[in-house]
């Protein structure tokens, strides 16, 4: 492949293993995003409730996009059965998921502040754990926990927008997963019916679609769009 260099081009060479100065590195990482939107994302604080198939993808996507601060809560540790869809590696088996996720994020975007909380999220503590977040993503596994934590967010975080997921199990069509605004502050991603309890399983491809849609709603909200 040949790349033409034109008059006035700014050309930088990097020696493998030698990173540029932090401010320059950050500018280059985000050179494919409009600067005004990158600034909005960097100023934001987003909460992620759960660091499994949904949460590990949402956290990675938001961190790659340059969201300045992520508060991630999950009580669980990495297990082999997570690896078919969750963004962890063999070396991370047994580590708290939030710690493993913070490590992963540092590996590609060291400019994100990650607050890693190894705690069980409940209706009562949901508001406290994610205090200061303008948007929270519900990324839990069980239907009852989803219901109770979303209720907790609605009750205890009166200013926050909530992006939840329901209906992403199995091998149904990807396009059946949609995003809708249902309450005044609640966005819901999923087909609303595909239940893990029906034995249909969980696949990286379909869970990933839902997680990417959650991430995309959050990025659009932070950029000032009304999704």
């Amino acid at each position: 492949m040949s790349t033409a260099i034109c008059d006035e081009d700014n050309v930088r060479f990097f020696k493998k293993g030698n990173l540029p100065e932090p401010h320059e590195l950050e500018a280059i990482i985000f050179s494919r995003q409009p600067a005004a939107i990158t600034a909005l994302l960097k100023a934001a604080c987003v909460g992620i409730a759960g660091a499994g198939g949904l949460g590990s993808v949402v956290a990675e996507t938001l961190a790659r996009s340059g969201v300045g601060k992520l508060v991630i809560a999950d009580f669980d540790s990495v297990e082999p059965s997570n690896l078919n869809r969750q963004r962890y590696s063999l070396e991370q088996l047994g580590l708290p998921k939030v710690q493993a996720l913070a490590e992963n994020i540092r590996g590609f975007n060291p400019f994100v502040t990650v607050v890693a909380l190894q705690e069980r999220i409940t209706f009562d503590n949901a508001g406290e754990l994610f205090h200061g977040c303008s948007i929270v993503a519900e990324c839990l596994d069980s239907a009852t926990e989803k219901a109770s934590i979303v209720s907790g967010f609605l009750k205890h975080m009166p200013q926050a927008k909530i992006v939840a997921a329901s209906g992403l199990a199995g091998l149904g069509a990807g396009a059946a997963i949609t995003a809708r605004k249902i309450f005044s502050r609640l966005y819901l991603v999923g087909d609303l019916i595909s239940d893990m309890a029906d034995g249909a399983g969980l696949f990286a491809s379909r869970v990933g679609i839902a997680a990417s849609m959650q991430s995309h709603i959050i990025i659009r909200l932070l950029a000032g769009e009304d999704p």
Binding site: G50, G52, G53, L54, G55, F123, C139, L140, D141, S142, A143, T144, K146, A147, S148, V150, S151, L154, K155, A164, A165, S166, G167, L168, A169, I182, F183, S184, L186, L188, G190, L192, I193, S194, D195, M196, A197, L202, V207
Partner: protein
């Protein structure tokens, strides 16, 4: 009795007096439900104590598992 449920007007044959009764009527298990009544969140512990009246707007999500 008339309620606006998830954006649709519903005429109910018998009057329902609490959020819990509305969930039962529509077959939504309480433990899977998140509810807003007239744009206010309803505490799941108070589904059976939160009154509904004619003309109320109620939004119900019934969650399924997976993540």
């Amino acid at each position: 009795m008339k309620l606006r449920v998830n954006g649709e007007d519903r005429i109910l044959d018998k009057p329902l007096s609490t959020v819990g009764q509305v969930l039962d009527h529509f077959g939504v298990p309480w433990v899977r439900a998140a509810v807003e009544l007239n744009e206010d969140a309803v505490d799941p512990g108070l589904f059976d104590k939160t009154p509904v009246s004619d003309g109320d707007r109620i939004e119900i999500v019934s969650f399924v598992g997976g993540g």
